[in-house]
Amino acid sequence: MSDTLALGSAGGASMVEEPLDLVRLSLDERIYVKLRGDRELRGRLHAYDQHLNMVLGEVEETITIVDVNEDVGTQSVRTVNRKVPMLFVRGDGVILVSPPSRLS
């Protein structure tokens, strides 16, 4: 990643940057987390660790469900939302962590 190399040198830090360092940069920022089971979280990252256990604040969880209509055979997609003020996420269910998409 060139940007991380550029980043490292400009910031005066070591050139070696682990992927988890990028998560570190997102501390106290709002992030988007994709979990297993078609779930997504958007919240403020308060803490994390190497297993990607995370503590998120002001989270909004989105569950995506696909309903299969057996009679017709069609599929319909719906989402379920819920809000949680403070949440601990176990790391092994985390698929990805990213800044929230700018256009969302």
């Binding site: 060139s2 991380t4 190399l5 550029a6 980043l7 910031g11 005066g12 501390l27």
Partner: protein
């Protein structure tokens, strides 16, 4: 069974006697008479055995004697048979015995055997007829295609046929039987081995002697047609006639022939004999050679010239080098071991000339030998160059290696020869059939070598001219396939270094959206700006620096905690160490903060970007705790200088955050955070500095920022408030103030600044206030305020800063200025007082509102209670 058999022997005996008389002369396997005796004897023994059995079964006291008798008889019988054994020679097949053991009829065996014999006889007859047909067919075709050689071959076949060849003839190929010629005379010489023309002497003997001579003459004259015609009927005789003659018939024929020969004059027979020997031998040798050559070249011409070229091209392509001396590993090692350098240009020419040289030797040597087998010449030539190279040349090179150039050429040529011998070998293998045909070795190998060289050269030039593409894109394929070879190895992925980071293509255009509608993260607001083209990297850079500052601050705090445990003595080394660490961490933190970067370098200022993140704001107070005064000054200066660009200013102005959207809420939060986190240290600093600095900062503030616009933000108001207050305090030179007394110039300067500020704000003072809820809020001149729906969202705290600012403004104002102030904010004052007194709002809020207003009014010397409702 017994009576029948007993009857038979007498008849058999009679018959046997008859037969014996008839065939007295012919040897028979056994005497019939003896046979009958044997049979009777066997029968008797069998009977005796059965009798014994009965005796044993019915054993009585008296039977012992009988038993003895019978056993005696048995033994005698067996002894008799034993005596007869010499006279008899009966071969009983094992299978018959097996039959008997199994209880089957031995006659069955005989019948089966006869059947088998008959069938095999049939089979053999079939084979014979098939071979005969094949022979006829073959001969006709042979005559058709090879009329010249056909006669010779057919003669050879003729002889083998007549002899009843059993394969031994091949072994006796060498007709030269020198010893026989010496010991015996010519008559015998003609009979040795295959040379003896049995056919001529036996079959033709039937036809007659003149016929025999006629054949010989015709053979000598090489007129093949007539002998063929003549041989055919005689062949037919041979076939249908006695294929396998009995020995008696053979002897008879030989006798007849000898008689005939003796009748004829002996001289012609001798001539005939000699004539038989010489041309036969020569012809046979020629035939053998032809046959061997044909066998060996049976699989010739399988590959067309195109195929050969293809293979050679593949092989040559591997050998392609620009500098063969350098690319060849062994050549290189040889050079190293010899310690000499060779010119590559000299190799091919000398190799061509030198190769011809040793081959001259080899060919001359070989021509002395009898060119019997071409196969031996080939390995001989292969070995030659190597032997010469190893034995002759290398010691010479070893001795004179360091001297003259000629030796270099010598050794280079030996190298070339060695390397070319590998090339020469296929050439020689190609030459093999040519050699076998008897052309001269020398010219052949030379020309073939030259041809090989030319071929190599041609292929090399072609390959050079047409370099292979590194990539192959087949039609319809989605992409290029890279073809790797020694010349085009697989490239290693090069990771671009930092220097190229700036030149990354501007794939994502800078997002110039300063007002993202639903932007959750204010920290990303500045992502669209920055010197480098990559907005995301800028953001990450800032985040990274924030994290680094956090790390440094945490370390600092940890050090401070450790400081408690340190000994008081400052000379202690651990203390020194601690101090060193501490200062180092401080340095690091400060450098990460990057506050002292020249102002106009990057836009926005890194510090501004730093502060655009909430966590950046939060770390400031903790950091400032460790900073020196100068550093804080620098920090404040930078903040003030770039105040306009602070996120809280750009997006936190009241007009912007008027809407109740999420972003507005966030803006308010950020502003609060700023006010609570960033401002206090700076303000505290300001509150304790000298007037000079205050003036300087003030001037900077007003210079760099658009006051009217900035004044709409609370932080700016706070700054201004503090600045004004401080300057006012300092102007009122009093002994209770810290620091050096301001001199007149500074005082003057500050008053100037004040006036300047006032003037720039004149007419816009109302805008200092956050947008209020009341519908009665009159729009200020030139400024439109969007009303907020409900008043409860507006807390009195929002006005606080405004009132404070106005109060400080009023303090330093002259009378005339005060008047202006009052006139402008009159509406506002009334509004607030009304609101407080109206009772729509709770009591405490009303109290707060009143207190705020009183801030201002008290500064003017007025009071809210004085306001007429």
């Amino acid at each position: 069974m017994n009576p029948n058999q007993q009857q038979r022997p007498p008849q058999q005996q009679q018959q046997n006697q008859n037969q014996n008389q008839n065939h007295s002369q012919t040897p028979v396997d056994f005497n019939d008479e003896d046979r009958s005796v044997l049979e009777s004897q066997i029968r008797e023994s069998l009977e005796t055995l059965s009798q014994i059995r009965v005796t044993v079964e019915n054993h009585e006291s008296a039977s012992g004697e009988v038993l003895e008798q019978r056993v005696d008889r048995l033994v005698r019988g067996l002894a008799q048979m034993h005596e007869m054994k010499d006279r008899l020679n009966v071969n009983v097949p094992e299978e018959v015995l097996a039959y008997i053991k199994d209880g089957r009829n031995p006659d069955e065996f005989t019948s089966k055997f006869m059947e088998r014999v008959a069938s095999e006889n049939q089979f053999t007859n079939g084979k014979i007829s098939a071979l005969t047909n094949f022979k006829q067919e073959y001969e006709s075709k042979l005559k058709e295609f090879f009329p010249d050689e056909a006669a010779e071959i057919l003669d050879a076949r003729l002889e083998t046929l007549a002899l009843g060849d059993d394969g031994l003839g091949e072994a006796l190929e060498d007709g030269q039987d020198d010893f026989n010629d010496e010991t015996f005379d010519a008559d015998v010489g003609e009979i040795t081995g295959k040379d003896f023309d049995f056919y001529q002497s036996t079959v033709s003997g039937k036809v007659g002697a003149p016929h025999h001579q006629h054949q010989q003459q015709q053979q000598q004259q090489h007129q093949y047609q007539q002998p063929q015609r003549q041989t055919q009927p005689t062949l037919a005789d041979a076939q249908s006639g006695n294929k396998v003659m009995t020995l008696a018939e053979l002897e008879a024929r030989m006798l007849m022939q000898q008689q005939q020969n003796q009748q004829q004059p002996s001289v012609p027979s001798m001539d005939l004999g000699r004539r038989i020997a010489d041309p036969e031998v020569v012809a046979r040798r020629k035939r053998e050679r032809l046959q061997r050559q044909m066998e060996l070249s049976k699989y010739d011409n399988m590959m067309s010239r195109h195929d050969k070229d293809f293979i050679v091209r593949i092989q040559i392509s591997q050998l392609l080098t620009d500098d063969p001396a350098a690319d060849d590993f062994y050549c290189h090692m040889y050079q190293l071991s010899r310690g000499t350098m060779f010119g590559s240009g000299s190799l091919p020419q000398q190799s061509a000339s030198q190769n011809n040289g040793p081959q001259d030797h080899s060919t001359s040597r070989q021509s002395a030998q009898t060119p019997v087998s071409g196969s031996t010449s080939q390995p001989g030539q292969q070995l030659m160059p190597e032997q010469q190279g190893q034995s002759g040349q290398s010691p010479a090179v070893g001795v004179r290696s360091l001297n003259s150039h000629g030796n270099n050429s010598n050794s280079s040529s030996s190298d070339a020869r060695r390397s070319d011998s590998s090339l020469g070998m296929p050439g020689q293998s190609q030459n093999h059939p040519h050699q076998h045909l008897g052309r001269s070795h020398r010219s052949n190998t030379q020309s073939s070598m030259a041809r090989m060289q030319q071929q190599v050269q041609r292929i090399v030039n072609e390959a050079r001219r047409r370099p292979k593409a590194a990539h192959v894109a087949a039609e319809g394929a989605l992409g290029k396939i890279s073809v790797n070879s020694a010349r085009n190895p697989k490239q290693v992925i090069q990771v671009q270094q930092r220097g190229h980071a700036g030149s990354i293509s501007q794939s994502d255009a800078p997002r110039n959206s300063p007002l993202p509608a639903t932007h959750h993260d204010l920290g990303g607001i500045f992502s669209g700006m920055g010197d480098t083209r990559n907005p995301a990297s800028e953001r990450r850079k800032t985040l990274r620096s924030i994290e680094n500052v956090y790390t440094a601050v945490l370390r600092l705090e940890q050090l401070i905690r450790e400081q408690v445990r340190l000994p008081q003595n400052s000379d202690h080394p651990s203390v020194q160490q601690w101090l060193a660490m501490y200062s180092e961490a401080k340095e690091k933190a400060w450098s990460e903060l990057d506050a002292s970067q020249p102002i106009s370098n990057t836009y926005p200022h890194p510090l501004v970007r730093f502060l655009s993140f909430s966590k950046g704001k939060r770390i400031i107070p903790r950091l400032v705790h460790h900073l020196s005064i100068d550093q804080i000054l620098a920090l404040t200066t930078t903040i003030i200088a770039n105040f306009e660009t602070l996120d809280v200013c750009r997006f936190g102005s009241f007009s912007y955050s008027a809407s109740g959207s999420l972003v507005a809420m966030q803006q308010r939060e950020e502003t609060d955070l700023f006010l609570h986190a960033v401002m206090p240290p700076t303000l505290a600093f300001l509150a304790e500095t000298s007037l000079q600095i205050v003036n300087g900062l003030f001037a900077l503030f007003m210079e760099r920022n658009n006051i009217a616009w900035v004044a709409r933000t609370r932080p700016a108001l706070a700054f201004l408030t503090v600045l004004l207050g401080r300057s006012a305090t300092l102007r009122q030179a009093g002994s209770h103030t810290y620091g050096p007394q301001p001199d007149a110039q500074e005082v003057y300067q500050s008053s100037e600044l004040y006036n300047h500020l006032f003037n720039s704000l004149r007419g816009n003072l109302v805008t200092v206030f956050p947008p209020s809820s009341t519908t009665t809020s009159s729009p200020a001149m030139g400024q439109a305020i969007s009303p907020i729906s409900t008043g409860s969202t507006v807390s009195p705290m929002e006005d606080l800063h405004a009132w404070q600012f106005l109060a400080t403004l009023a303090i330093g104002a002259s009378v005339e200025q005060q008047h202006a102030l009052v006139s402008e904010v009159r509406e506002k004052v009334f509004e607030k007082v009304m609101l407080a007194k109206s009772g729509h709002v709770p009591i405490d809020i009303a109290m707060a509102l009143t207190a705020n207003v009183n801030l201002f009014l008290n500064a003017l010397g007025l009071d809210a209670s004085q306001v007429a409702t």
